[in-house]
C-alpha cells in the first residue's frame, strides 16, 4: 500500500503515457477550487499545474498523492480516506505516493494542526469528480443517461444491472471532458464509508515489520555520513580547530567547515565543523577526536537563572496592553484580598524520537534532498539560499518522519547536507546525534506570567489582570526582535475565555539568547498552564468545586469575539463564521469529561482529580487527570480522560491515538527539567538529563471521547497537549494540597 517517494513517478508517467492513465487534480485559483483533469496521452497545461493528484491507472490502481508530511498523525491515510471515499474507490486498489516539495501543491507546512482543515474540501471535490467521470464514461459507452449509472467500489452499475469496472473505463474516460465543479455532487455524510471511521492506517504493517523508510533509511543514493560539531552558543563561531586526530581515524574522509550564519537565525545552519566518513561510527569517533575553540559571541552570557529573574521582574510591572475591558487595573489596585500568582515554565526541546537527518546530492543545476522534513518548501528555500540556487532547482523528497513536533519544520539539517554535498561533490547524509538535537534545537520559549484577580462576594472573578513575557519566535526571523507576534499571543493568551466585566491582558518583551521555535501547541502550553491553574486556585479560594467553578468562570454559552475588546486576533487564520470561539463547545467538553471521569466521586487519601479545558487550533479539549501522591511526595498518574471537539474528523482511531499521545507529550512540560543555559550553552545533552515521559511516568489509560460534530474540521495533533500540565497540577493540589506554579514539578512535592 505504501510507496514513500515519487521516484517512480517519472517512470510511471512515461510508461502510462502510452497506455493512457488519467491524472486529476484540483486547482486553487482565485480562492475557489475547481476540478480539472489531465490526460496523460496528451499532457495538458492544466494537469501540470494541478495542486494535487489522483491518478487512475489502466489496471484500476488509484495513486493518491499525499503532499503533507507523515509524522505519526496518519495524514497519508487520512488523505487517501477522503479521496477514495468520494471517488468510490475500493480500498485495496489505493496506493499513496508521497509528494515532493512543490509550490504547485499549495501549502505543505505540516504544522499548526491544519492538514485536514486546509485540504478536506478540495480532496473531496477531486474524488467526487473522478467518480462523476467514471459514471459519465460508462453512460457514454452504454448510451444511457448518466443519472441511470451509479458508482460503488470501483464499479459503475447501470439501472438495468450491467456493470463496468473503473479499470475498464479508463480508456473511455480519456476522451471525456472532466466535470466542472457545478456538475459534481459530494456524498452525504451518511454515505461516507471511509471518512469518520477507525480504519487501519496504510503504513501500519510496514512499521511493524521495520520496513518504513525514515530519513536515515535512504540508501539510494549511497551516501557518505557527516556528523557536525556546531557552536555551543547561538551566534558563536569557530575560532580555530585541530583535525589531526580526527583525520587519523580509519574511515574519516574529510573535515569541512560550515560557515556561520548571517543576521537572524532563520533556518540557517549554525555553522561549525563537519566530519565526513565512510560510515556513521567513524564520523562519530572523528567528532569526538576533534578539538575546536569557539568564539562565543554576544550570547555567551545567557544564564537561565538570571534570565528567569528578569522575566519575573518584567511581569511584575505594567506592560503593553493586548486586550482590555472594564477597569481591572483600578479595581485590583484597590483590592485588599486579591489572589496573586506568578507562573514560570522553562525552555523545552521537541526531541522527536528520530533526530534530524537529511541526505543531499549536488549537481550543477540542481540539488536532490531526502529529508525528514515537516515543510519541504522551506527546505527548498533554505537549501537554495545555502548553495546559491533558485529554490525551484531544489528537489526535496520527504521521507517518513520519526516524529516532528515542530523541530522538523526548521530545515537547518537539510541545508547542512546540501552544503557538504556541494563542497565534496559526493552524496552526503548528515546524521544528527541526540546530543546535537538537544543542544541545537529551536527551543520552546521560556516564559513567566503574572496573574491577579479579585473575587466578588459570590466568589466569581470580578477583575482579572494577566501579564505574559516569553522569548518570542519573532526573534528567530527578525534580528533583535523582543516582542511577541500577535500570532504567538493568540495562542491561549488573547483568547482567554474567562467571563468577567474587568479584564486586562498585557504582554512584555524578552530578548531571546538562543534560537526560539515552535513546539507542539507552542505558547498555548504555558498560557493554558497559567490560566487553567489560576482558575483552579480561584476555585479553592472561593471554596468551590474546580469543575463547577471552571464552568461558571467561562460563563454561559455564547460566541466570544475578542476583537470587540480591542484585541488583535486572527483565529488561527480561519474565518469566524465557520470557526467561532464558541464557549458553548468549551462547556460541553468540560461537562463530557466530568461525566467520563465520574467527577466528584470519593477518592482514597492521597488521590486527587484535576481538570483543565482549552481551545487551541480551533479545537476544544477538556482533560481530567487522576493522580496519587504518596506521603513521601512520589507522584503517580493513575488515569486520564479527554473529551475533544475537533469538528468533523476523518479517522476516529487516529484522533484517539493523537489525543493520547498529545496528552503524554504534555507531561514533558510538567516533569522535564527543561532546557537550561549557562554561559550561553545548553546544560542538557541526552535523555539522561533531558527527561521525557516514559511508560512509568505515564497513565496506562487515556480514555478519549470524540464529540460527534458536523462542523468543519479543526486541529487534532496539538490541542490535547496544553491542557495536560494544568490538569495534572490541579490534580496534585487536590491530592496533597501543594500548588505547582513553577515548572518543572521537580522535587517540589518532596519538600
Amino acid at each position: 500500500m505504501s510507496q514513500y517517494f515519487d521516484l517512480t513517478r517519472r517512470g510511471f508517467l512515461k510508461s502510462t503515457a502510452a497506455t493512457g492513465a488519467l491524472i486529476f487534480g484540483t486547482y486553487l485559483a482565485g480562492g475557489a477550487p475547481r476540478v480539472i483533469a489531465g490526460v496523460l496521452a496528451k499532457p495538458s497545461e492544466s494537469a501540470k499545474t494541478a495542486n494535487l493528484f489522483v491518478a487512475l491507472r489502466p489496471d484500476g490502481i488509484v495513486e493518491i498523492t499525499c503532499h503533507r508530511s507523515e509524522m505519526g498523525q496518519q495524514i497519508r491515510t487520512a488523505i487517501a480516506q477522503i479521496v477514495a471515499d468520494e471517488m468510490e474507490a475500493a480500498w485495496d486498489k489505493v496506493v499513496v505516493i508521497q509528494g515532493k516539495g512543490d509550490a504547485k501543491y499549495g501549502d505543505q507546512n505540516t504544522d499548526g494542526s491544519r492538514s485536514i482543515r486546509y485540504n478536506m474540501q478540495r480532496l473531496r471535490e477531486m474524488g467526487a469528480s473522478v467518480r462523476h467521470l467514471m459514471r459519465q464514461a460508462a453512460a457514454t459507452r452504454w448510451n444511457v443517461p448518466v443519472d441511470s449509472c451509479s458508482a460503488e467500489q470501483h464499479v459503475v452499475t447501470h439501472s438495468s444491472g450491467k456493470t463496468l469496472t473503473y479499470a475498464e473505463l479508463v480508456n473511455d474516460a480519456l476522451s471525456i471532458t472532466p466535470p466542472e465543479l457545478a456538475q459534481i455532487t459530494l456524498k452525504k455524510r451518511s454515505e461516507w464509508r471511509y471518512i469518520n471511521t477507525a480504519m487501519e492506517h496504510i503504513d501500519l504493517k510496514d512499521i511493524v515489520m521495520g520496513k518504513a523508510t525514515f530519513a536515515a533509511d535512504v540508501f539510494e543514493p549511497k551516501a557518505l555520513i557527516a556528523v557536525v560539531v556546531r557552536p555551543p552558543v547561538v551566534g558563536g563561531k569557530v575560532k580555530s580547530f585541530d583535525a589531526k586526530a580526527t583525520k587519523a581515524i580509519d574511515g574519516v574522509i574529510d573535515v569541512i567547515e560550515i560557515p556561520a550564519p548571517q543576521g537572524a537565525p532563520q533556518f540557517q545552519p549554525k555553522g561549525g565543523i563537519a566530519i565526513i566518513a565512510k560510515n556513521t561510527w567513524a564520523a562519530i569517533k572523528g567528532r569526538r577526536a576533534l578539538s575546536v575553540t569557539w568564539d562565543d559571541g554576544k550570547n555567551g552570557d545567557y544564564n537561565s537563572e538570571v534570565f528567569k529573574a528578569s522575566l519575573l521582574a518584567t511581569v511584575a510591572s505594567p506592560q503593553s496592553s493586548v486586550r482590555e475591558i472594564g477597569d481591572a487595573a483600578n479595581i485590583l489596585a484597590n483590592s485588599s484580598d486579591k489572589l496573586v500568582a506568578d507562573y514560570y515554565a522553562p525552555h523545552l526541546a521537541q526531541a522527536p524520537m528520530e533526530p534530524p537527518c537529511a541526505t543531499a546530492i549536488y549537481y550543477k543545476d540542481r540539488v536532490d534532498v531526502w529529508a525528514a522534513t515537516q515543510n519541504p518548501q522551506a527546505d527548498m528555500a533554505t537549501v537554495g539560499a545555502m548553495v546559491g540556487m533558485p529554490k525551484e532547482q531544489i528537489n526535496v523528497h520527504v521521507t517518513m518522519l520519526g516524529g516532528g513536533f515542530g523541530r522538523k519544520s526548521k530545515p537547518d539539517f537539510s541545508a547542512e547536507a546540501a552544503y557538504l554535498a556541494m563542497k565534496t561533490g559526493k552524496a552526503i547524509r548528515v546524521q544528527w546525534t541526540r546530543e546535537d538535537d538537544i543542544q541545537n534545537s529551536f527551543y520552546h520559549a521560556v516564559s513567566a506570567q503574572h496573574i491577579e484577580a479579585s473575587l466578588d462576594k459570590n466568589g466569581a472573578i470580578e477583575a482579572y489582570l494577566h501579564r505574559t513575557a516569553f522569548t518570542p519566535i519573532a526573534s528567530t526571523f527578525v534580528e533583535g526582535a523582543t516582542a511577541p507576534l500577535s500570532l504567538e499571543l493568540r495562542l491561549g493568551f488573547t483568547d482567554n475565555p474567562i467571563n468577567t466585566p474587568n479584564m486586562k491582558l498585557e504582554s512584555g518583551e524578552a530578548p531571546a539568547k538562543t534560537r526560539i521555535g515552535w513546539m507542539r501547541s507552542v505558547s498555548n502550553v504555558f498560557h493554558a498552564f497559567a490560566v487553567q491553574s489560576f482558575i483552579a486556585e480561584a476555585a479553592h479560594k472561593a471554596g468551590r468545586d474546580q469543575k463547577d467553578y471552571l464552568l461558571e468562570t467561562i460563563g454561559p454559552n455564547r460566541i466570544l469575539d475578542v476583537t470587540e475588546e480591542n484585541a488583535e486576533y486572527d483565529n488561527y487564520g480561519a474565518d469566524k463564521a465557520n470557526y467561532p470561539l464558541d464557549i458553548g463547545k468549551l462547556r460541553h467538553v468540560i461537562e463530557k469529561v466530568a461525566d467520563m471521569s465520574a467527577w466528584g466521586r470519593k477518592l482514597p487519601k492521597g488521590r486527587g482529580l484535576g481538570i483543565a479545558a482549552h481551545r487551541s487550533f480551533l479545537t476544544y479539549v477538556a482533560t481530567v487527570v487522576e493522580v496519587e501522591v504518596s506521603d513521601k511526595g512520589d507522584l503517580k498518574i493513575i488515569k486520564s480522560w479527554v473529551s475533544i471537539d475537533a469538528g468533523t474528523v476523518v479517522n476516529t482511531d487516529t484522533v484517539k491515538n493523537q489525543v493520547q499521545g498529545g496528552s503524554i507529550y504534555g507531561i514533558t512540560a510538567a516533569l522535564s527539567e527543561g532546557i537550561t543555559f549557562d554561559k550561553g550553552k545548553v546544560q542538557q545533552s541526552n535523555f539522561h538529563d533531558y527527561r521525557v515521559p516514559r511508560m512509568s511516568d505515564s497513565p496506562l489509560e487515556v480514555e478519549v471521547e470524540i464529540i460527534p460534530s458536523d462542523a468543519p474540521p479543526a486541529g487534532v495533533g496539538e490541542p490535547a497537549t496544553p491542557v495536560y500540565a494544568p490538569a495534572l497540577c490541579n490534580a496534585i493540589f487536590a491530592a496533597c494540597g501543594k500548588r505547582i506554579r513553577q515548572l518543572p514539578i521537580g522535587d517540589q512535592l518532596k519538600a
Binding site: W281, G402, Q431, N657, N686, R694, S696, L700
Partner: protein, 165 residues
C-alpha cells in the same frame, strides 16, 4: 575477524571492533529496522536480541557479540506474524513508528522469559524504551493481549532460529 549470526545468517566483520552493533546492522547490512535514538542506552530504539535477550545495540561493540546470535525486527518473523507484531497491529499502536521496532523487540524478549507479566512488570520492563509520540497505553495493552496468545510463548524461540543457520 569477528563472526556472528544475524537473523539466522552467518556474517563476518573485519572492521573497527569498537563499532556498535547498531551501526554495523544499519550501515553494513542495511537492516534499518533498528533505530538510532540516543546512542547511549537511554531510549531503546536500537533494541535487538542477543542470544534471545533484548539489548541496546547502540552501546554494544561488535567485539562483544562474537559468536552470538543477533535477531533484529527483520528476523523476528517472516511476515509480521509474531504475536507481538500481531498485537501491535490489533491495537494500532504506532504513531510515527520510529520507536516501535525497539519496543516490539523489548516486548518479545519480555514475553519469552515471562509469558504472563503483571501490569507493573510490563511497566518496569518497558520503561527503558522511550516513545515521544506517547503510545505507552497502547503498548501496555498490546503486550497484555500478546501475552494472552499462548502462541506468544511457543512461537519465538531465538535459539531454534539461530540454529537454523
Amino acid at each position: 575477524m569477528i563472526t556472528f549470526i544475524v537473523n539466522g545468517k552467518t556474517h563476518e566483520f573485519s572492521g573497527d571492533p569498537t563499532t556498535p552493533v547498531l551501526w554495523y546492522l544499519r550501515d553494513e547490512l542495511q537492516l534499518t529496522g533498528s533505530k538510532f535514538g540516543c546512542g547511549m542506552g537511554q531510549c531503546g530504539a536500537c533494541t535487538v536480541h542477543i542470544n534471545g535477550v533484548a539489548q541496546r545495540s547502540c552501546v554494544l561493540p561488535v567485539s562483544a557479540v562474537s559468536g552470538s546470535k543477533i535477531t533484529t525486527i527483520e528476523g523476528l518473523s517472516e511476515d509480521g506474524e509474531h504475536p507481538v507484531q500481531q498485537a501491535w497491529i490489533e491495537h494500532k499502536v504506532p504513531q510515527c513508528g520510529y520507536c516501535q521496532c525497539g519496543q516490539m523487540m523489548q516486548a518479545a524478549s519480555l514475553l519469552a522469559t515471562n509469558p504472563t507479566p503483571t501490569d507493573d512488570e510490563i511497566v518496569q520492563e518497558m520503561s527503558g524504551n522511550i516513545c515521544r509520540c506517547g503510545t505507552y497505553p497502547r503498548i501496555h495493552k498490546a503486550i497484555k493481549s500478546a501475552s494472552k496468545t499462548l502462541a506468544a510463548v511457543q512461537y519465538y524461540d531465538p535459539k531454534v532460529k539461530g540454529e537454523q543457520a
